[in-house]
Symmetry: C2
Subunit: 211 residues, 2 copies
């Protein structure tokens, strides 16, 4: 194996070990020695790749953000109306957080008030939701009297809350609960909630091309 | 001033200085020396009252939790239907977080994934919302087809998300945005949303007896 390829693999192994540590324990208590042990890498190799824990957290966040944005773009380009694609994206992200410790750690780090997140996934997510809601508005999909701003606020607040509660309560997140959540709020937001709701029940099978 | 009274005052000054530090900066970066300086107290006095930063955070959380539970109980006993009282409580908590650094720090600490929160405000809040939603159900206030579980999920997720986003984006929280949020989701949840909505517009004037 070429030296450069080995370095890339070591770095990836460290990022994944750090993500597992940050997702399972808290960022503040995860130790660098446990991370290097988990990755099967020496402390020296860890310090060759990363200046410290904050540097590792930034690398985990960057990888999670890249993956999440790609997944979201993928969901945005599936068939269906703008609201359907938005709902599919949320299911895709929920599934990714369940499957992948890097995504889970990325979500956890971006709502961690003890760090300044550079990936700024919160503002990216608000922008992503707003884009699709504006499309939905353009296509006449929003219920009468609901502004794009208000629908964006409700959807961003609820989805962020879902993720945060999932971080502290492993019982909370499930496809069923998310489906019931949408079936509960869509009648307020959508002009024809039944059409969106029909797609909700198959939402967990969507957007899995990059998983 | 009696010795005991002076000790109580010093402890309170330290809790308030710690809350200001945790609310303004992050928990992880707030320093004990800055907190004792802010409280006008010596480092020795700080260590007489608190074993360390985690101990101070626990005291801030306990004080915030006590205040918030009292405020919520107060709102729960105002006039109106169960859903109206729930909406009033949320406005009351939003106003308290704006007014009081102890409440703000308490919210921030309880969603901080780098700490294990002992106050467990998240589960308390989920239980509080559930109680009022069950009352609303008993009084026929929920929209047809909406279960108490689903309404609780939607309201808990959205309100927690609102608080978390407010922690990282000072532009976000406002009485107007919260009022529009409720006017956006209530039509799905309430059998007669207009009655609840009428009270929303005066929601910011409610529940201020303990402020």
């Amino acid at each position: 194996m070429a030296k450069q390829e080995r370095a890339v693999r070591t770095r990836q192994a460290l990022i994944h070990a750090a993500a597992e540590a940050f997702a399972a324990d808290a960022y503040a208590v995860a130790s660098l020695s446990a991370i290097s042990r988990r990755a099967g890498v020496s402390a020296g190799a860890l310090h060759f790749h990363f200046a410290g824990k904050d540097d590792m957290a930034k690398a985990v966040e960057a990888e999670a953000a890249g993956f999440v944005r790609q997944l979201a773009e993928d969901c945005r380009s599936t068939a269906g109306t703008a609201l359907q694609r938005l709902v599919h994206t949320v299911f895709g992200l929920l599934a990714a957080a369940g499957d992948d410790p890097v995504v889970r750690a990325g979500f956890k780090l971006c709502v961690d008030p003890s760090r300044k997140s550079e990936a700024d996934m919160l503002h990216w997510w608000a922008g992503f939701v707003r884009d699709l809601v504006l499309q939905a508005q353009g296509e006449g999909e929003l219920a009468q009297g609901v502004s794009a701003d208000d629908a964006t606020t409700a959807i961003v607040a609820a989805t962020v809350g879902f993720v945060v509660i999932a971080m502290v309560d492993a019982e909370w997140p499930s496809v069923e609960r998310m489906a019931r959540f949408w079936s509960c709020i869509l009648p307020s937001l959508a002009a024809a909630p039944e059409g969106v709701l029909a797609s909700v029940t198959r939402g967990d099978q969507q957007c899995d091309r990059v998983r």
